[in-house]
């Protein structure tokens, strides 16, 4: 129980530090958000970006998923059947 309290205190302290930093920072933002959000489809823009600019990470991501799949199946599979 005490350890949980300590953990809680650590987490709260962390929150305080980050929140303080967030509040005191002046963030660079665009002056105002695009007015009519419904007009803009960001889906299309994201799609284009994925297949142009971020095509390499995307391809690597395919390897990640495959690797995770192989690893997970291998580890989770029970070895009882001979």
């Amino acid at each position: 129980m005490i350890s949980k309290a300590i953990n809680g205190a650590v987490a709260l302290l962390f929150l305080a530090v980050v929140a303080l930093a967030v509040v005191t920072t002046t963030w660079i933002t665009v002056d105002e958000l695009p007015q009519n959000l419904a007009d803009q489809s960001n889906i299309e823009a994201i799609g284009v970006q994925i297949f142009t600019q971020f095509v390499i990470p995307f391809e690597v991501l395919s390897l990640v998923l495959l690797g995770a799949l192989i690893g997970a199946v291998y580890i989770a599979k029970s070895e009882v059947e001979k």
Binding site: L33, F54, A72
Partner: protein
Amino acid sequence: MIPLTYYLILSSIVFSIGLYGIMSQRNGVRLLMSVELMLNSANINLVAFSSYNDDMSGQVFTLFSIALAAAEAVIGFAILLSIFRMRDMINIDDINILRW
């Protein structure tokens, strides 16, 4: 218009909850949930920054990170499953053969 800081405070709170969880929970599944919380709080940040900076790459990053979080969870559950099969429980603080 909601100030950007609100999103960031929210994500910090979520992140801290995740931190608390990973430090205090003994159940493996809860631990994984905590990790997901932390990853997703970062996603909130990324999306918020993305729209407030009017730059699309943050949202693409978010998509990637969601996929990665899924892959991570898969591996995590596989390891937990394997632990469960071996010891019939997933209280990970009892697993300490390797120490010192």
